[in-house]
Every structure is written in structure tokens, then in C-alpha cells.
């Protein structure tokens, strides 16, 4: 690898370079801030990240490339997800500025950690080498551990962090073991070479299944799919609420990215996820295994969510169910399926961040996270109530919200195969009906309870209202007018092919 090559590769690495620069700048800047003014580091981080997002949007991904000797790929798929997690991070920073949990403490490093987490996700969504996959996965995980334990003096937060570490370390150990088997079998750590070797070789199905399961443990834990979900509720409840919101969307989306990239490249018969006719390696039917995981995630997530009385825990379990819906798209794993997953990830980010943000604001304003305490919220805080109802309807997947369209695309990609996935689609849809019950519990509490208390109507601060409307309105209207997001997602299904 000569210097010219490195310079060329670096030119496709500019957003990451800018982000690294911003990261270092925020650390330096924070050195000169007192605790009370450390929020300025947050503003700087947010501004910097906005700049990075713009540079991502400007990046030319019409031709997909592998950079740094195919350690990373720069392609439409990765770019879409980088934009997605960046936007998510910006929104989370915005709500963090208003979070009571983070008041009266030094927060500079909080924003630095978020930026680092974002950088880790940039690597994760573009990793094409076992080493880069593992390192970026760890980078994302370690930042997540730190952030979920950020409220150092709170037991819950510490518990969340330690549980997360234990589960995380265990799963990444297993992942690593799976990788080592894969390396031993194929003699390469580059996923394209692995694919070539696997497609040519005749590994025993048992060994392949072992590898598959080990890899799935590692990735499944990142997206919180059942049965690798046990850390989720406690971590989600204990972590600072904005971080919970962030963990439920961004690292999850990045986890899906690596699942799609790894499985569709390394474990496919052709090594080209852009093909319409798609097939797995002959001796490794991972689609069926992921189908089972998907059913488990949807059903377990939904059924346990039914019994939750705490909003954050309810959303935590529902996020497991949503991972299940997205896995349905991974099962299909062709152009339309992957585009549907990307679309779902984007819509899910809007609605789930939205729901969490309302929960955060309610916690700030009324000091409660109990669904029962949302009683008559629709009358006490009309704007907040309507917006929360939109998020709940969208999470259920009811028209005319974006949540419906996202589910529609997923199920559309399933039914396209006729018989094969018809039952999967049926189970998925019935799960949607189950989820209606617990999402509507929130709506019911907000609207159906009698309005005896005629205290002053609560108005959320302007910046919160703007933030929430910016999340809710696209959910309501964006898809009705030609659905630009769908076009963007379909365009983004461009993988780097060696």
C-alpha cells in the first residue's frame, strides 16, 4: 500500500476525519469550561456533528469503494446509516440540553462520549473485515457502557452499566470465538475472501451452524434480539433517559447494518447483495435462523411489554419487538428487503426518539415515568398529548403515520415471495395487533380519564415543542407526497462489491 493509495483512501474518509477533529476540539474546549458552562461543549459538539452530517450528505457514493485495503467500505448503504445515526445523535444532544438528569454536573465528556460512539458507528456500518468489525463493535459497546453509567451517584445507572458490561463482554467473547473459527476455516479475515472460500469449500453443516450461532450472539446482542435481550430493560431504565433513547435507535441501526453486510456478503452464495435473486450459502441457511429470531423477538418483546407500567421499560421491550420487525426485512435480504429495513430504521428513529423525548419531558415537568401518571395528559398538556398520541399510533403501525408505511414496506418485501414468508408476515402483522394494546394504554391514560383537575394547562418550552414537532410531522405527512425517504433508502442499497 503506497502513500498515494492512502491519500486517495483518505479523501473518502473526510467525514470521519472531520468528526475526529471535532471530537478533539470539544475535549480541548471543555478544558477551559467550568462545570456550569460545560454545556457549551455540548453546543460545540452538536454544531460539529451537524457539519459532519452535511459532509456525509455531500459525499459521492455513486461508486462504492473499499478503503484501507478493504478494511472499510464507502458505499450508499453505509452512508445512509451514517447520516441516520448522526441525525439521531444531534436530536439526542438537543434533548440532553433540556434533561434534568444532566443538570448541575459537568457534561463536556458526556458529549465527547456521544461523538465517539457516533464515530464507532461510522466504522461499524462500513466495516468489511473481521478485525474492523470487532474493533468498531467494541468501540460502540464501550462508549455505550460508559454513557449508560453516566449518572455515577445513582445505583440504577451503575447497575445498568455493570449489567451491560457483563453481557457485552460475554457476547463479544463468543463473537470473537466464532470469528476465529471462521478465520481458521477460510484463512482470511476479509469478508469477501471468506465468502469466496466458503462458497468454494465444503465445510460441515454442523461447523457452519456453530459459527452462525456464535456470530449471531455477538450481533444479536447489539440489536437486542431475543434471546440476547436480557440486558435491555435494566439498561434502558437505569441509563440517563436521552442515552436510553439513543441506544434504542442508533446502535441498533448500526447493528442491523453489520448483520446485513456480514451475512449478505460473507455468508451468501454470490457475495453480491445487490442481486434480485438471492440465496444463502448452500450449507448455511441463515435466513431460517434469523426468521426464528425475528418471531421470538416480536412475540416476546410484545408480550412482556404488555405488562409494563413504566414508560421507559415499556418502550424498552417494545424496541425488542421492533428489532423483530426489522429482522423480517433481513430475512428477505434482497434489494427491497434491505431498503425496507433502512426505511424502518429511519422511521423508527423518528418515532421512538419522539416517544422517549416526550417521556423525558414528562419526567422533567411532572416527575413521573409511570403510565398511570400520564392520566389526562391530553388535557393538561394538549400539544404534548397530541404529539405523544402520534408517536404511539406510529409505533403501532397505524395509517396514516410513517410507522404504517415502514411496516407496509417490510411486509411487502415478505409477501413478494409468496408462500415462503407468508406465515412470517402473518405472525408479524398479528404482533402489530398485540402491540396496539400497550401503546393504546398510554393514549387511554392521556385521554380517557376524566378531567377533574383543571390546573393550569402545561406548555412545553418552545424548543422542546419544535423538536417534537420536527419528529412528529414528517411521520404524519412525509410519505403522502411521493415518499422521498423511500426513494432515498432504495437508492442507498448500494454495496461495495469487491
Amino acid at each position: 500500500m503506497n502513500l498515494n493509495q492512502i491519500m486517495t483512501d483518505l479523501s473518502y474518509f473526510i467525514p470521519e476525519l472531520i468528526l475526529t477533529g471535532v471530537l478533539l476540539l470539544v475535549i480541548l474546549f471543555d478544558l477551559f469550561q467550568k462545570a456550569e458552562t460545560s454545556i457549551r461543549s455540548g453546543y460545540l459538539a452538536m454544531g460539529g456533528l451537524a457539519l459532519v452530517t452535511l459532509s456525509l450528505l455531500g459525499q459521492d457514493v455513486s461508486i462504492s469503494r473499499g478503503i484501507f485495503t478493504n478494511m472499510l467500505a464507502v458505499d450508499g448503504f453505509g452512508n445512509f446509516l451514517k447520516v441516520l445515526v448522526s441525525v439521531g445523535a444531534i436530536l439526542v444532544m438537543w434533548i440532553s440540553f433540556n434533561s434534568n438528569e444532566l443538570k448541575n454536573r459537568r457534561v463536556g465528556e458526556y458529549y465527547v462520549l456521544i461523538l465517539t460512539l457516533v464515530l464507532g458507528m461510522y466504522f461499524l456500518v462500513s466495516a468489511t473485515h473481521l478485525l474492523s468489525i470487532y474493533i468498531s463493535l467494541e468501540m460502540v459497546s464501550i462508549m455505550s457502557y460508559l454513557l449508560s453509567g453516566y449518572l455515577k451517584e445513582e445505583m440504577r445507572s451503575n447497575e445498568a452499566s455493570i449489567k451491560y458490561v457483563v453481557f457485552g463482554a460475554f457476547s463479544s467473547g463468543i463473537l470473537l470465538y466464532g470469528f476465529s473459527l471462521l478465520y481458521g476455516l477460510t484463512g482470511s479475515a476479509d469478508i469477501y475472501e471468506i465468502q469466496a472460500a466458503l462458497a468454494a469449500g465444503t465445510a460441515s453443516p454442523a461447523l457452519m451452524m456453530l459459527i452462525l450461532i456464535m456470530v449471531l450472539v455477538g450481533f444479536g446482542y447489539k440489536i437486542a434480539a431475543v434471546p440476547f435481550h436480557f440486558w435491555t430493560p435494566d439498561v434502558y431504565e437505569g441509563a440517563p433517559a436521552p442515552i436510553t433513547a439513543f441506544l434504542s435507535v442508533a446502535p441498533k441501526a448500526a447493528g442491523f447494518a453489520i448483520i446485513i453486510r456480514f451475512f449478505n456478503v460473507a455468508l451468501s452464495s454470490a457475495g453480491n447483495p445487490n442481486l434480485e435473486a438471492w440465496s444463502t450459502l448452500e450449507n448455511m441457511n441463515w435466513q431460517a435462523v434469523i426468521g426464528v429470531l425475528s418471531i421470538l423477538s416480536m412475540t416476546v418483546g410484545n408480550v412482556i411489554a404488555l405488562q409494563q407500567s413504566n414508560v421507559k421499560r415499556m418502550l424498552a421491550y417494545s424496541s425488542i419487538a421492533h428489532a423483530g420487525y426489522m429482522l423480517l426485512g433481513v430475512v428477505v435480504a434482497d434489494q427491497t428487503g434491505i431498503a425496507a429495513v433502512l426505511y424502518y430504521a429511519a422511521v423508527y428513529m423518528l418515532m421512538n426518539l419522539g416517544a422517549f423525548f416526550v417521556a423525558i419531558h414528562v419526567k422533567n415537568a411532572f416527575d413521573t415515568e409511570d403510565i398511570e401518571d400520564y392520566k389526562a395528559l391530553g388535557y393538561r398538556a394538549p400539544v404534548l398529548g397530541v404529539i405523544m398520541a402520534i408517536f404511539m399510533f406510529s409505533l403501532t403501525g397505524l395509517p396514516p403515520t410513517g410507522g404504517f408505511v415502514a411496516k407496509f414496506y417490510i411486509f411487502r418485501s415478505l409477501i413478494e415471495y409468496g408462500d415462503m414468508y407468508f406465515w412470517l408476515a402473518l405472525i408479524g402483522l398479528i404482533n402489530g395487533v398485540i402491540s396496539l394494546y400497550y401503546y393504546m394504554r398510554v393514549v387511554k391514560a392521556m385521554y380517557f380519564t376524566k378531567i377533574e383537575l383543571q390546573e393550569n394547562v402545561h406548555h412545553a418550552p418552545v424548543n422542546i415543542t419544535i423538536l417534537l414537532s420536527a419528529l412528529a410531522l414528517p411521520l404524519l405527512f412525509a410519505w403522502m407526497f411521493g415518499d422521498p425517504l423511500s426513494a432515498y433508502a432504495q437508492n442507498a442499497v448500494q454495496f461495495f462489491i469487491k
Binding site: 399510533f393 404504517f404 409468496g418 408462500d419 402483522l429 385521554y447 380517557f448 378531567i451
Partner: protein
């Protein structure tokens, strides 16, 4: 002729809801009259649509058609024919009259009327759209306002009723969605356009789904989705509860329009698109119709709550619709759709009348009254008229449509039809028995001061009574409106059966 009448008639209430949302909630009169004005305008437009509608044609008319989401070949496609035109009129009429029934809503009136208008738009959209995707969106969108209208303004058990209604219908909807997607992918080129789907009918009979005849599988999926709405036994358990808990005007809309959407779905989608499967399913459908007729009437007979009795009478009356359309004869089909319209007007009257007495007595226990005809003679008179219309007395529209259903079904399902006529006797039984217990006999001293029905309430009832009476004596205009389309429908479904050798 290029115009946007159907779009206007469909989206006018959405516009109205936005306007209502902007009016300060203290200006109660503006809110009420505003809603009345918007639904009134909608009614005028609906009548105007009928005026320019070509009765002799079986084609869809007033078409608005353009690409909406081209990637998936989803179209914005509106149009009406002889099947949807009566439903459009019914929706506009009942929405307008139900506003007056809603006059005394006690809390959060602004939200109520805004949601009411959204509900109106959803219903209208279902009847005007000819693209399955668009149809589905309207079908679902309607659930949200309904959920709130029952859940916030309903009776004591409203929370349970609202979520039960929502869960049942959503369950039906997801099966509908599956069926819709299966149709989309079997059709070539992939489309949601109902007319093109109908043309490709034979495709669905040939294709396989889950190793079975795709047409039949899809028909069953759609059947459950629609059956929950009708509701067909055993999917009916949400209905009495929702009816009893909903405020009067919403019960009127539920019985008058929402139930029709189920049978409308059969006639608009299942029958023309899946012709072979429709013939295959005709007998089960007729049997289910019979069960509805008898079971609904028996259940009504057993009720102590007047509103529940009326709710079960809907189950019974919708059974006639099923029987009529399962027969697939011109008389049966015309009778079925005519019965849909008539049941809309008659059940609306019945629910309004129950609402009138409930507003005054604050209970609906049939045995809790007695002899009140002496105190409220006008109310007793109007109720007598509505009850007679409900039990299908000659001279009222219900008689004509039920008779047509029987005439149409008799040659095809002789025994089923004979048993179904028992339903008529039972219908007469519970209506007359209830009337006797409430209005005749010794006056219950509690109700000596019962207030007579007022002008506003009469204003909502009289147009319905006139229509019921008029169509009972002279049904030709309504039958003319729908016969071209329906006879054509019968013919195409039958001829498909001959090709398939059924």
C-alpha cells in the same frame, strides 16, 4: 367529464376538522353550527353527485385518477358506481343528521366535532376509493377517531369497549392487508387498482398460495377482515358493547355506515376480484347469513337494555344482506344493497330514539318504563313508526329490501331462505314486545313528567322517516340507481363460474 367532486366530498370534512380545531373551545355554537354547515354542504354535494350520475351505466363515474406512489404502482383513484353511490348518499345524510344528535355532548365538544368530521372523511373515502391501498388507508384511518369517540365520550364501560372495538377491527385489518398484498403480487403488472384486479380475476384462481388455490386463501383473508366489520357471527362480540357504550350519534354512525363497510367490501372487492372463490364461498356465506338473522334476533329478544336490543337487531338485519348477496341473483343482489341503505336509515332512527329516551330517563332498561305513550305521544308515535320499519312492515323500505333478498335467495338456497323467514317473525316479536313494555300498560309513576321529544331531535328523525316511508312505497329511484351496476356484477361473477365449470 373531469371534475373533483369526489375529492371535495371526501376531503371537505378534513378541511372542516381543521377549521373546527382553530375555533376557540368556548364558542360552542360556532363549533356546532360549523360542523352542521360542513356536513350539510357535504350532503348537498352528495345529492348533486346523484343528479349528474348516469343511472343507466354500470361503469364507474366521476373518476379521478392519477399516480400517487409510482414506485409501487399506487394510485389516487376515486370513482363511484351504482354500488357506492347509495353509500355515499347514506354517509353524507347520516353524518349531517348525527350532528344534531350530538348537540348535547357535554365535554370537550371541540375535540368531539373535529374527530367526528375526521370519521366522516374516513367513511366517505372508503366508499369513493377504487384503489385498494387508498381504500385500506381510509378503512384504517377511520379507526382512530372512532376509538376516541367511544373512549372519551362513551358510557361507563367505554374504555373496554373502545379497545375491544379497536383490537377486533385491527385484527381484521391486518388480514385484509395480507390479502391485499397477495393480490398485488399475483396481479401482473402489480397493481392495487380494483378494476384491473377484477379484470385479472382468473389469475387468482390459477395461482397457488400456501399450496392452496390463491383465490380462495385470499378470499378467506379478506372475508375475516370484512366479516368483523359487518359483523358476521362469530366475529360480532365487539358490536353490542361498542354500540351500548358509544354516544348516541356514534352508535348511529356505527350501525348506519360502519357496518355497511363490511358488506360493501365484499361487493366491491371480494366478489368482482375473486369471482371463483366467491361462488365457492356462496353457500357458507348464506349459512352465516342465516345464523346472523336467527342468532341476532334471538339475542335481541333476550335483551333488557333497549340499546343492546337495537344493536342485536343490526346483527339480524345484516344477515339478510349476506343472504341476498350470497344468492348471486339480480333480485338478491339489489335487495342486499337496498337493505344496506335501508338498514342505515332505519337503525339510525332506532338509535336516535333510544338516545332521546336515555337523555331524559338516564337508563335504557326496557322493563324500567311502562305506559309512557300517555306522557310522550309524539315520541311514542315516531318510535312506533321506526319499530314498524325495523320489523319490515309493508309500506316501509325495509320490507321491500328484505322481500327482494328472499326472492333472490329462494331459488338458490331454498331451505336456508325458508329458515331465514323465521327471523322476520322473531324481529316482529322483539320490536313489538319491547314497544309494549315501554309504551303501553300502566304508566310508571316515575315518568309522569317525562319531557316530550323536542324539535331538534325531530329534525334529525323526520327526514329518515320520510325516506323510509317513501322508499317503502316507491323504491324505484333507489333500485334504478344501483341495478345497472349490480346486475352487471352478478353477471360477471356467474359467467366466471361457467368458465370454471362450477
Amino acid at each position: 367529464m373531469e371534475n373533483h367532486l369526489l375529492s371535495i366530498v371526501t376531503f371537505l370534512p378534513v378541511f372542516g376538522a381543521l377549521v373546527i380545531a382553530l375555533i376557540p373551545k368556548e364558542k360552542l355554537d360556532i363549533i356546532r353550527w360549523g360542523t352542521a354547515a360542513i356536513t350539510g354542504l357535504q350532503l348537498i354535494l352528495a345529492i348533486w353527485i346523484l343528479k349528474i350520475f348516469d343511472f343507466s351505466s354500470a361503469e364507474v363515474q366521476l373518476v379521478e385518477h392519477f399516480a400517487w406512489i409510482p414506485d409501487f404502482n399506487i394510485e389516487y383513484f376515486l370513482g363511484i358506481d351504482g354500488l357506492s353511490a347509495p353509500m355515499v348518499l347514506l354517509t353524507a345524510l347520516l353524518s349531517f343528521l348525527a350532528v344534531f344528535t350530538s348537540w348535547n355532548i357535554e365535554k370537550a365538544q371541540k375535540g368531539y366535532f373535529a374527530l367526528f368530521l375526521l370519521l366522516d372523511a374516513g367513511m366517505m373515502g372508503v366508499f369513493t376509493s377504487l384503489d385498494f391501498f387508498l381504500f385500506y388507508i381510509f378503512w384504517e384511518v377511520m379507526l382512530l377517531p372512532m376509538y376516541f369517540l367511544i373512549g372519551i365520550w362513551g358510557g361507563p364501560q367505554r374504555e373496554y369497549a373502545a379497545i375491544k372495538f379497536f383490537l377486533y377491527t385491527l385484527f381484521g385489518s391486518v388480514l385484509l392487508l395480507l390479502g391485499m398484498l397477495a393480490l398485488y403480487f399475483i396481479s401482473e403488472p402489480h397493481t392495487f387498482n380494483m378494476l384491473i384486479l377484477a379484470e385479472q380475476s382468473s389469475q387468482f384462481g390459477k395461482a397457488l398460495l400456501l399450496g392452496m388455490n390463491a383465490g380462495k386463501v385470499i378470499f378467506v383473508l379478506l372475508f375475516v377482515g370484512f366479516a368483523i366489520k359487518v359483523p358476521i357471527f362469530p366475529f360480532h362480540t365487539w358490536l353490542p358493547l361498542a354500540h351500548v357504550e358509544a354516544p348516541t350519534a356514534i352508535s348511529v354512525i356505527l350501525a348506519g355506515v360502519l357496518l355497511k363497510m363490511g358488506t360493501y367490501g365484499f361487493l366491491r372487492i371480494s366478489f368482482p376480484v375473486l369471482k371463483d372463490a366467491a361462488l365457492w364461498f356462496a353457500l357458507p356465506l348464506a349459512i352465516l347469513g342465516l345464523i346472523n338473522v336467527i342468532y341476532g334476533a334471538m339475542a335481541a329478544l333476550a335483551q333488557r337494555d333497549l340499546k343492546k336490543m337495537v344493536a342485536y337487531s343490526s346483527v339480524s338485519h345484516m344477515g339478510f344482506v349476506l343472504l341476498g348477496m350470497a344468492a348471486l341473483t339480480p333480485a338478491g343482489m339489489n335487495g342486499a344493497v337496498f337493505q344496506m341503505f335501508n338498514h342505515g336509515t332505519i337503525s339510525a332512527m332506532l338509535f336516535m330514539l333510544v338516545g332521546v329516551v336515555y337523555d331524559r330517563a338516564h337508563h335504557r332498561d326496557i322493563d324500567g318504563f311502562g305506559g309512557i305513550a300517555k306522557v310522550v305521544p309524539i315520541y311514542a308515535g315516531v318510535t312506533a313508526l321506526a319499530f314498524f320499519a325495523g320489523l319490515g312492515l309493508p309500506g316501509f323500505s325495509g320490507f321491500i329490501s328484505e322481500a327482494l333478498c328472499f326472492i333472490g335467495a329462494f331459488p338458490v338456497f331454498t331451505w336456508i331462505t325458508i329458515f331465514a323467514t323465521i327471523g322476520i317473525v322473531l324481529n316482529a316479536g322483539y320490536f313489538l314486545w319491547a314497544y309494549q313494555r315501554v309504551f303501553m300498560g300502566e304508566l310508571n309513576s316515575k315518568y309522569e313528567q317525562l319531557e316530550e321529544i323536542n324539535n331538534r331531535e325531530l329534525f334529525a328523525l323526520i327526514p329518515l322517516a320520510i325516506i323510509t316511508f317513501f322508499l317503502g312505497v316507491y323504491p324505484t329511484p333507489m333500485l334504478n340507481l344501483m341495478s345497472a351496476t349490480l346486475n352487471n356484477l352478478v353477471e360477471v361473477v356467474k359467467s366466471a363460474g361457467m368458465v370454471a365449470g362450477l
